[in-house]
Amino acid sequence: MSALWTLTDVTARQGRKTVLEAASLTVTAGEVVGVVGPNGAGKTSLLRAGLGLLPLSAGEARLSGRTLAELKPDARAKLVGYLPQDRRVAWNLPARMIAALGATDLADEAADALALDCLARVGAAELADRGVLDMSGGERARVLLARLLATRAPLLIADEPVAGLDTDAQLLTLDLLRAEAAKGAGVVVTLHDLGLAARSCDRIIVVDHGRIVAEGPPREALSRFILGHVFRLDGELIETRAGPVLAARRA
């Protein structure tokens, strides 16, 4: 499998604080990688540093084998689509126009057709002409997800794509991202719900205090030891018919 995203010993600072230290990871096509960790652990910093949104003070990040420095903005956009955590939208544009913003490489008509297609895929076809500020948070999240899909990038990175969504919308979002992975994309998501992460991700990366402290299949990465030491939880993953569920109490 070819590596879509490689971080090698990446260290990044924000002001004087080191927010990420010696982080290394590889994401390949077809897998869904979950990034979990307590609040402020460095999940978003990991994504931002790996995308060049945060300057690196050491280490190297590559997209499809090419370093960030050698990629022009348009070339980089062909390799990765990014859904930031901040879901504020400044103006009340119709959903189809928001979704079309994912396809900067296409002419207007083609971008609009793709936008409608992506809105249909996230189950928001009927919202196409509604203004995004007139929508509920869940509806807007779906429109922004359609924008991410419209990038058609081989690597999709979503920072907290399910924050603030109801359970159905959370499952729908992750199922959609899983479907993209099944079609060959590499997907990286940060999540707070460990049960949801275990259920939806092929591999989990646990971040704590700016370091990657565990990595592997959900059951390994979210071991009793990690749950206790990183999340201060006394618990474990239990297999159920609907997938793994986290049973835990505060340690």
Partner: protein
């Protein structure tokens, strides 16, 4: 409504307003005199229409268009419906440039005040371009703009303070109030060059302004050359504002209000709003200047006074309506 159709419609309304503004004035004409003005431009009524009123209306339209486009660009760049051409401090420093030229006695040289005002705008614009590259968040840029505005205002006050003659002081004050009185075709042509460059830059930045709807980080990852487009937006807006201040002094509220007049017609789109905002600004200023001429006062009202008098209550209304629709 398609963008082209909207622009054509607005252009038609603007043309009608311009015809009205050229036709009406302090000196009322009979039908025969209008006919004479049309058939013999060199006749006395022709002189009034074509060498006094028409260039004045043209300068008002150009300045209004520049301010409207500049305001729409700033609102898009800063993602803030209350941004205006002066928000980054360009107007204040441009006004300072004019004040310095007047107090230095350069008013006798044709075009010196205008050049000095434009130079002030370019200095401020260059500073803001550098800051905009360094600080991407709109809040930071707005704060720098506030500081630059205050500093420009303070230096202008200092020029007043140290001004040797009351005549110069009165002249600066009159100039800062904004007016298109006694402008000729040369003034219109002089304004046109920087405005055309500024407009081209702003329009090229349009795609970036639309992308900024999603916020700074999504825009940076979108594949658009955002660093360059931001420079276009800031530099274009500074040129438009500076050329506007150079041609007519400091005129408030037009740049703020014009985009809001057309916002609903373009579905809030920061890219498609650019040209209609320019046309709306031109329309507003042509009508404001007509009002300034027709309102019977002992001294002719200054254009900046008229726009502020009508603009400030409109601004309050706007803020009220915006506050009702503010959402997270």
């Amino acid at each position: 409504m398609s963008l082209v159709r909207l622009c054509l419609l607005m252009l038609l309304v603007l043309t009608l307003a311009a015809v009205l503004a050229v036709s009406l004035g302090e000196t009322p004409f009979s039908l025969a005199q209008y006919a004479q003005a049309l058939s013999h431009p060199a006749s006395p009524p022709g002189e009034v229409l074509w060498t006094i009123r028409a260039p004045r209306v043209a300068v008002a339209a150009l300045v209004g268009a520049a301010l409207g486009l500049s305001g729409a660009t700033m609102q898009g760049l800063l993602r803030n419906p209350l941004a205006d051409p002066g928000v980054l401090g360009v107007s204040a420093v441009s006004g300072l440039g004019a004040a310095v030229a007047i107090s230095a006695g350069l008013a006798v040289l044709p075009g010196a005040i205008e050049l000095s005002a434009l130079a002030g705008a370019l200095v401020a614009g260059a500073m803001v371009v550098v800051l905009a590259a360094r600080f991407r968040e709109p809040e930071a840029l707005i704060l720098f703009g506030v500081a630059l505005s205050a500093f420009g205002g303070a230096l202008t006050a200092l020029v007043f303070n140290l001004s040797p003659s009351p005549v110069a002081t009165a002249e600066i004050l009159a100039w800062l109030m904004g007016s298109v009185e006694n402008r000729d075709w040369h003034d219109a042509l002089r304004a046109l060059v920087p405005m055309a460059i500024g407009a081209a830059l702003c329009v090229r930045a349009g795609r970036g302004l639309r992308m900024l709807t999603l916020g700074e980080e999504a825009a940076r990852m979108s594949g658009l050359p955002m660093a360059r487009l931001r420079v276009y937006a800031v530099a274009g807006s500074a040129l438009l504002t500076g050329a506007g201040v150079a041609a007519a002094g400091v005129i408030g509220f037009v740049g703020l209000a014009a985009p809001h007049l057309v916002r609903a017609l373009v579905k809030d789109d920061p890219k498609r709003i650019l040209w209609p905002s320019a046309l709306a600004g031109a329309l507003l200023l042509v009508l404001a200047d007509l009002a300034a001429r027709l309102i019977p006062t002992e001294q002719e009202l200054k254009l900046g006074v008229v726009t502020a008098l009508f603009g400030a209550p409109a601004f309050a209304l706007l803020a009220w309506r915006a506050s009702r629709s503010w959402r997270s």
